[in-house]
Symmetry: C2
């Protein structure tokens, strides 16, 4: 950041000569609830939503602009924690908060703009997948959706523990934390671009829905297999059947799904889950999947 | 624009190697009323609000990201006209709509991100004014505030005429149009940078309030004279006293105010209205001005 908050606009470095930019709403009652999420959680999640979009283009996040409308009686401490959450998530991604705007509204409205730099890479679009490519995912799938289901069923007790430093075994609270504070694998975005990814997307609506966007933009069929997608952690706490649904259709983990030419040696964090064929749409184990409509946040 | 709407993020040219970026809310009931503004008016005004901030840094606007939250029953025709207004105002500034997000809300919420390119210029900040500089303004002052006062007093009849092609003499409707659809002098921003402007700001809160931001950031006193600020057009329709208030404290015209080294030959659109001295704050005709708090839109 060259010039930050306090002038008419921010000035950020864009050494590539191109800038990657995206804007997303994060709205109380739709993307978060103040009785479930702490202000810091909201900041982390709001920043993650835009920064993951930047990474999904193969770019390195550089800055965030934050427009916040809030009720007049929102405590200053809430706003301070929100700012800390935004800044901390930016730091995770290597970016910083560069500017913003504030206004009044009856509930909390955030509009977050993420900016990023391609550092000489070509942007990885949704439209470049070819038959013969493999489909791989970096990051968790279904944890955020499982956490939302647990919150809806039995929130308060688990919620209290989700903010703490939890042992691996404490599944429910960890899944809730994944809903409240997702951890996108930002570095995997530029990494995928460097590995020759032909298409990439941020998994925000649900794996099948987002692979559907790649399939439609690329004019291909994507076939995913359920074996590499099984998640024993979710299954242990939510049951096998529900877990499969969360993994295939749950959104908000902000993991990255990408197509790579067959034979590319992928680092361990990229799990191959399917392949690209001639045709259209998305299939699971070779068959159409009925629950593929994707995630609509709180409906 | 290199990659636009429909991927995870947009990719825009940033040939300078830096990008100028700003985000602003435009909220129904606060920045516009749907019974006063057409959807196209809202689009023009929302785009102008961010694009003028880009110009006020000395940059050329390149792109706009639009986040829109709206009631489910908003007619599609309203959204189409909004998009046309946004695109038309972008075209006036040489930019284009590059991306966005949509969501639901009980009333219309827009969060607009403007992006721009400095084309090798140093950014013109608020903090560079020096004693001895002159203060000049490009664009109208007080027209938008006068229009708002006329709307509040006697809206409907004038409103109907404000959308038409009006003769110069038809003051009230022209003032209302200035409120509904401001016309920032975008080209004057990079022009001022090229002329050596030492500080610049977009007049969105009111002339004295915004000059106060320059004075504070630069550590100087700014003294403006009322003679070059008189606006006979506003006076003819609102009276001398009210007109003076609108010119000094009315916001939303999105004109540009800048400090220039004394002796710089300024093009005709830049009117010299005052000078920079040692000290602090803003004075009018050498005296403190009580009505200087600035414009709070609809309060």
């Amino acid at each position: 950041m060259l010039t930050g908050i306090g002038d008419d606009a921010a000035v950020l470095a864009a050494p590539d000569g191109r800038v990657v930019a995206t804007t997303d709403f994060v709205i109380e009652g739709r993307h978060f609830r103040r009785d479930w999420s702490s202000a810091a959680d909201v900041g982390h999640k709001a920043a993650a939503r835009s920064l993951a979009d930047i990474a999904a283009m193969g770019a390195v996040p550089t800055g965030l602009l934050v427009a916040l409308a809030a009720p007049a009686d929102l405590p200053v401490s809430w706003l301070r924690e929100l700012a800390q959450g935004l800044a901390a998530e930016c730091a995770r991604a290597g970016a910083s908060v560069a500017g913003g705007d504030t206004s009044r509204a009856p509930s909390v409205f955030l509009a977050i703009t993420g900016l990023g730099d391609l550092s000489g890479r070509r942007p990885v679009l949704r439209s470049g997948a070819h038959p013969g490519d493999v489909i791989a995912v970096a990051g968790q799938l279904g944890h955020a959706a499982a956490g939302l289901a647990l919150l809806e069923a039995n929130g308060a007790a688990l919620l209290e523990r989700s903010g703490q430093d939890l042992p691996e075994a404490d599944g429910p609270a960890r899944l809730i934390r994944a809903q409240l504070r997702p951890s996108p694998p930002y570095e995997a975005g530029p990494e995928a671009a460097d590995l020759g990814a032909t298409a990439m997307i941020d998994v925000s609506d649900g794996l099948l829905a987002d692979l559907g966007h790649i399939a439609a933009a690329s004019g291909v069929l994507i076939d995913v297999g359920t074996v590499p997608l099984r998640d024993s952690f979710i299954s242990a706490h939510c049951g096998e059947t529900a877990a499969a649904g969360y993994v295939l259709s749950g959104g908000e983990d902000h993991s990255l799904a990408a197509a790579f030419p067959a034979g590319v040696a992928l680092p361990a964090r990229w799990r191959i889950i399917g392949e690209v064929r001639s045709g259209s749409g998305v299939r699971v184990d070779g068959k159409p999947y009925l629950g593929a409509a994707g995630w609509d946040h709180f409906r």
